[in-house]
Structure formats: C-alpha cells, structure tokens
Amino acid sequence: MNDVAGLSELARSASGGDERDYEALVRALWPNAYRIAWSILGERGAAEDAAQAACATICAKLQDLADVRAFPGWAYRIIVSHARDRARARSRLQRRETLGYDQASGISTRDDPSVRLDLEAAIGTLPEPLRLALELHYFVGLTSGEVGRALGVPAATVRFRLMIARRRLRALLSDSTAPSTAQETAS
C-alpha cells in the first residue's frame, strides 16, 4: 500500500530535475495526498484541489529540501497545510465535525440513528488532530517524528495523540464484531 522509504528515493531522483522523475514522484504521492486532504476537508472536489496545489508546491520547492530523507514528513506537512488553509477559508471544519461521519459518501450517523457507531465511524468523528495522527501513522506509514513534522508538533505530542486516540477507540476495539460490521454498514 504505502512505501514511505520509496518516496524518499523518488524524491532523490526527482531532485535531479527530470520531468519523468517528478511525475513518478507525484504519482506515488497523489493517492495519499488526496486521502489526507479529503480527511481534513470532507469534500472530494476541495480535496482534489488541495492535493493538486500541494503537489505543485512540493515539486516547486523540492530543490530547497536539503535532505531528501526528510521528504515524507516535509511533503505531508505541505499537504496538511494546503488542506487546512482551504478548510479555514471555507469555514467548513467545525461544521463537518458536528455533522459527523463521511458526508462525501452520503452516510451520516446523524441522519440515520440506527446506523451503529462502528470503528470506522469512530475514527471519522475523532477530533482532527487525533484523526490525522492516526491516519498518517497507521495508514500512510510515517514515523511519529515524521507525523510530527507533517503536523508541526513534536514527536512526543504525536505519540500522546496516538495514545489518546487509541484510548478513545478502545471500547470499540474490544468489541470483536466491530470490524466486520463496519464493512457491512458502509456498503
């Protein structure tokens, strides 16, 4: 799924200036850039715009990056910043957290009270700092230091956020039926 070390290698190649290397880098980065932007913005169109702008910024500033080993954290910092800027500009962040789970797919825990609050839904309703820490660490595969760089906080803060997020999800994790029913609920 995700190869963070591969990203650094692609960034090293792209820093040579070849257009094909740049495209390969963006192609590798694009899916998760879009997903993280979607997680922050909650809208597909806005997420696509933010991810595209972030990729353009990453390409334009890649030559300024002194150490390509720092590329993953640096790149996700740009992605998160672009998405947050758009979220702030459109004043949707708070509204989305209030509304609940996944407007993009049309499923809302608020609209249908019978929908069981499963693990996926619980992740979707976590506050943004906790949710982003989870997603960047467990899904994208960044280390806590890289997540810290992406979110602009110390690595210790990331570990604390992960601990809090896990604690909040613990009740659901103890329910062994949660993962299987989550799939059914979503589909």
Binding site: M1, G17, D18, E19, Y22, E23, L25, V26, R27, W30, P31, Y34, R35, W38, R44, E48, Q52, A53, C55, A56, T57, C59, A60, K61, D85, D102, A104, S105, L119, E120, I123, G124, L134, E135, Y138, F139, R166, L169, R170, L173, A178, P179, A182, Q183, A186
Partner: protein
C-alpha cells in the same frame, strides 16, 4: 504492531477504500510555479520580522537613539555579536535568493562592497515593489568567532533623514504584549542609480566603516 493497532489499520484502510482516488492531473509538474501563499501572521518569526521591516523601512523624524532603545535593539541585533548562528528574521516564504529578488526589482541589485571575509548571504527580501521598489539583503558575518548581522537595503528613492524606525512587539512571559518604538541612525549612500542603506547598529565600527565610511547622500 499489536492486535488493536492492526484493527485500527484495517479500519483506516476500509475508511479510505470507500473514497475513490481521482486520476492524477496532467503535468508537467516540474515547471509548475509554487502557488503564492500568504505568510503566517504573528508566526515565530513575527517578532524578528517586525524588527527588520520596521528598522529597514525608512521613516520618521530624526532623533537620537536612547540607551533604552539600544538595549531593546540588542535583543535582536546582538551588540557584541552572537556565539551562535543568527536565526532568519522573516518567515521562510519571504526568503529569496538575490536572483529571485532581482526578478521582482526594476533596478539591478548591487552586491555591497567591503563585506568582511566569512560573510554569507542569508536571504534577500523584497520589502516593496510599488510604488517604490525596495529590497533588503541580509548577511551573516563571522568575525572573531562571533556572528554579526549585516542588513543592507537598496531602493531608487528615499525621503526624510537617514533614520530607521525601530518598532518591536513582543509577548512577555506574563502574557502581555509589549510595544517599543523609536529611531536609530542609518547610513545611506548612492551607488549609480541605486540608493543603499545600512543599519550600522550592532556591528563593530571597523566593519561598518569598511562597507561605507559615511553618508554620501
């Protein structure tokens, strides 16, 4: 990775699997310019930025720099140099190379003569483009094991006496925002059509006089 982490990871994969990723937009990616972004207001560099922008934007009525002002100024421009490399004073979004600044200036940027050895350019900063273009060159000099800041402004038009307005806002430990302002003497000279200015405060006299001996404008 323990069991609960595996379950979280699986849930995240299901969460994102339901969001189809659109096709990658067409390039070319290499030649795309960086989208212009507004620098953060009151970021960590805000205090430093307020100093340099205030100090280098020439303004005000001439006045003698008081000892109090010099002491406040020394917080940002160490009078005897600093044992550590000096941090940039503005947000990274505003830091440019001379070549990048040159693209936005209608006049040819002059590299000042007489800079001491072991001097490096930290960054150039476009203070204004319209109506009067002004660029600031920020150097760091290593003299006798200590670091000194050298700030030189270049413009095409000036008005008023050679005095720099000194304006600092900072937040104290008690949470109160404090404001200090005043003026400091400025050296101003002409190089062809370009008017150059330098704040000698904080520099050893032998160094500042080597860059420019006196006001020639």
């Amino acid at each position: 990775m323990n069991e609960s982490e595996t379950i979280i990871k699986a849930a995240l994969e299901r969460r994102f699997a339901r969001v189809p990723v659109p096709d990658l937009p067409q390039g070319p990616w290499r030649s795309q310019p960086a989208p212009a972004r507004r620098p953060r207001f009151r970021s960590r560099g805000f205090v430093y930025a307020s100093v340099v922008l205030g100090a280098l934007a020439v303004a005000g009525v001439g006045a003698q720099a008081s000892d109090t002002l010099r002491a406040d100024f020394a917080r940002f421009f160490p009078l005897n140099g600093s044992s550590k490399p000096l941090p940039p004073m503005i947000h990274r979004a505003d830091r440019l190379t001379i070549a990048q600044a040159q693209q936005r200036m209608p006049f040819t940027i002059v590299v000042p003569a007489g800079l001491p050895p072991n001097t490096t350019l930290q960054y150039a900063h476009v203070v204004s483009e319209q109506p009067v273009p002004r660029v600031a060159l920020n150097y760091q000099a290593l003299i006798g094991g200590r670091y000194y800041r050298i700030n030189i402004n270049e413009t095409t038009s000036v008005s008023g006496p050679p005095v720099a307005h000194f304006d600092v806002m900072f937040k104290a430990k008690d949470g109160q925002t404090h404001h200090q302002s005043g003026t400091l003497p400025l050296r101003r000279w002409k190089h062809g059509d370009v008017i150059m200015e330098m704040l000698p405060e904080g520099l050893p006299p032998a160094v500042s006089e080597r860059i420019v001996r006196a006001n020639t404008l």
